[in-house]
Amino acid sequence: MILAVAIKQVPNLTDDLEISADGTGLDYDALTYVLNEFDEQALEEAVLVKEAAGGSVTVVGIDTTGELDGALHTALAKGADRAMKVTGDFDRDLGSEGQAQLLAEAIRPLAADLLLTGVQAADDRDGQIGPRLAALLGWPYVGVVTHVTPEPGCVRVHKEYAGGLLAEFVVTLPAVIGVQASHQPPRYAPVSKIRQIAKTAQIESVAGQGTPASSSSVRRMFKPEAAGQAEMWAGEPEEVAGKIATLLTAKGLLKL
C-alpha cells in the first residue's frame, strides 16, 4: 500500500503568542514551531498500517517556516520511507486553504492509496486540511479516526464521536483519513537516530506553484480578555495544598 502523510508545523503553544504590529496576525518571528500533534498521530498510524500491510510511507509538508527539515528527519526516524517538502515564498500564516492546494499538487503524482493527516491543527482558522485535500483529489474523507485497519482495496476505520462513542466505516481506496489518535501511542525516535538520518537523508523538494490567496481575511487578531474568574493563590506548594484541603473539607469531600 502506498501511504502518504501530510504534515504541518504549528506555533509552539507553550510559547507566549504575541500579536503582530498591524494587529491582524501573530508576531511570527518570535515563534518557535513544533509538528502539529495530530500529524504525529497520523504518521504513527501510517507506519502501523505499513507494518501490517506492507508498502511505503511518504511524508510531505509545506515549508512555510524554513525549518520543516527537522520534522521530516524525525518522521524518517520514526519509520517513514520518503520525505518531501513543498518550497516557495510562502506567508508564515498560509492557511489550510492554500496549504491544501499546494499539498494536493505535490501528492497527486505519488499515486497514493491512502493519505493520512492530523484531524485538525491549532491554527486551522480556515478549516481542516484533510477534507480540503480529499475534495481537491476527489477522494472520500473520514475524520476523527482512532484506528485504521488495512483490507484489500479499502480500510476499516473507527471514527470517534463525543463521549467515546465510535462509528465503524469501510472506506474504498484511494481515500483521505483525518487521524485523531493512532491506535498505539506514537513511537519515540532517539535524538541520535534523528541526527544520523539528518546527515544522510535526501529530502525531495517540490517547488510550489504560486502562493494561493485566502478566501477570507483576518481583520483583527487579539487575545481573549481573561475572564479573570479564578481567585489566584500565591505561595509554596505546601500552602496551596493546604488551601485545596480546606476547600475539599468545606465541600464535604475530605473527612477530618
Binding site: 503568542l17 485538525q120 472520500p140 495544598a241
Partner: protein, 321 residues
C-alpha cells in the same frame, strides 16, 4: 443569493445534539439582521420528530434510508446540492466530529470561504463577521469572507440555545443528490467500553494534563486520588500518549463530567477540554502558565509546579484524615 442562514442539524442515536439549537438561536438573530430566515437542514431517516424539535424558522428534512446514520460522503453530497439550490448567505455547521468531516470539503466543492472554530458571528452593515478561537483558545481572530456568503463551523457552548420554541415548519423532501455508489460505508456504532472506572460518577476528580510531563509521573496523581478516595481523569494529550486509558478522558472527544470539585492539574484548558468540565460545581486549576485559559473557568487557581504540589497535597490529605 438569499439572505437565509442554513444550519446543519446534528443528531446521533436518535438524539438532537445540543449545538443544533445553539446554532438555531444564533441563526435566527443573524437572519433577522439580514432579512432572511434561519433554515435548519436535517438529514436522516424516520427522524420527523427530531426535525420538529429544532428552533429555527424552517426545517428542511431530507429523508432517505441512506441517511439513517451519519455518513460523511452522503452528507457532503446532499449538503452541496442544498447549498447550490438555496444559495444561503451563511451555512453553519458544528465544530464537531460531524461538522469537521464536512465543512472544509464543502468549502472546496461550493467555492465558499470557510471560517472555523467560530464563537461569535454577526452582520455589520450587511457584511458577515466571524470570530475564530484558535491556538488552543489563546487567540481570537476576527475575519471577513471575501464574498458575501460563507461557511462557518461553530464551537459548542458559544451561542445561547433556542429553547422552548414552537416546532418550526418542517418541509420533508427526498434527497436532492443521488446516494448510490458511496465509497464510504457505515458499518456499526460501537458503545464506549465499560469497565475500568466511570469518571462521570465521581463527586471529586483529580484531573491531569500535559503538565504531568510523562508516564512516570502519573503515579503522583494516582496516589493523591487514592488518598482522596477518587480516581484520576485526564485531558486528551494524556490519553493519546497512552499514559491513561481513553475511559479517563474529559472533553469533547471524551466524557462530560460534572463533579462537585474538579482539580485540574497541568491542564491548559483548550476549548475541547473546557467543553467537558465547565459544568463542575467548583474548579481548582494549577498550571505554571498564569495565562492558561483554564483560569478563565476555574474558581481558584495557583501557578506552582504540579510535580511539587501533588505529593504535598497527598501528604496533607493523609495527615488530615
Amino acid at each position: 443569493m438569499s439572505n437565509d442562514i442554513l444550519i446543519l442539524a446534528e443528531h446521533l442515536n436518535g438524539k438532537l445534539a445540543d449545538i443544533t439549537n445553539e446554532m438555531a438561536g444564533q441563526a435566527r438573530q443573524l437572519a433577522g439582521a439580514l432579512g432572511g430566515q434561519a433554515v435548519a437542514v436535517l438529514l436522516g431517516s424516520g427522524a420527523q420528530a427530531l426535525a420538529e424539535s429544532i428552533g429555527s424558522d424552517r426545517v428542511l428534512y431530507i429523508d432517505d434510508p441512506a441517511l439513517a446514520e451519519f455518513n460523511p460522503e452522503a452528507y457532503a453530497r446532499v449538503l452541496a446540492a442544498v447549498v447550490a439550490q438555496r444559495q444561503p448567505r451563511v451555512v453553519m455547521l458544528a465544530n464537531s466530529s460531524v461538522g469537521m468531516d464536512l465543512a472544509a470539503g464543502l468549502a472546496v466543492t461550493t467555492g465558499l470561504p470557510l471560517i472555523a472554530y467560530v464563537n461569535a458571528l454577526s452582520a455589520e452593515d450587511g457584511r458577515i463577521v466571524a470570530t475564530s478561537q484558535i491556538y488552543g483558545g489563546k487567540i481570537l481572530a476576527e475575519a471577513v469572507p471575501a464574498g458575501e456568503a460563507c461557511l462557518v463551523t461553530c464551537l459548542a457552548g458559544a451561542f445561547r440555545p433556542e429553547a422552548g420554541r414552537a416546532a418550526a415548519a418542517v418541509e420533508r423532501i427526498a434527497s436532492p443528490a443521488p446516494l448510490d455508489g458511496l465509497k464510504v460505508q457505515f458499518v456499526r456504532l460501537i458503545e464506549p467500553e465499560a469497565g475500568d472506572v466511570d469518571i462521570t460518577q465521581q463527586a471529586l476528580l483529580v484531573s491531569i494534563g500535559r503538565g504531568i510531563g510523562g508516564a512516570e509521573n502519573i503515579e503522583l496523581a494516582q496516589e493523591l486520588a487514592e488518598a482522596l478516595g477518587t480516581v484520576v481523569s485526564a485531558s486528551r494529550p494524556v490519553t493519546d500518549a497512552g499514559w491513561l486509558p481513553k475511559t479517563r478522558q474529559v472533553g469533547k472527544s471524551g466524557l462530560t463530567v460534572k463533579p462537585k470539585v474538579y482539580l485540574a492539574f497541568g491542564i491548559s484548558g483548550a476549548p475541547e477540554h473546557l467543553e467537558g468540565m465547565r459544568g463542575a460545581e467548583l474548579i481548582v486549576a494549577v498550571n505554571t502558565d498564569p495565562k492558561a485559559p483554564i483560569f478563565d473557568v476555574a474558581h481558584y487557581g495557583a501557578t506552582c509546579d504540579i510535580l511539587d504540589l501533588l505529593p504535598a497535597l497527598t501528604e496533607r490529605v493523609k495527615s488530615d484524615t
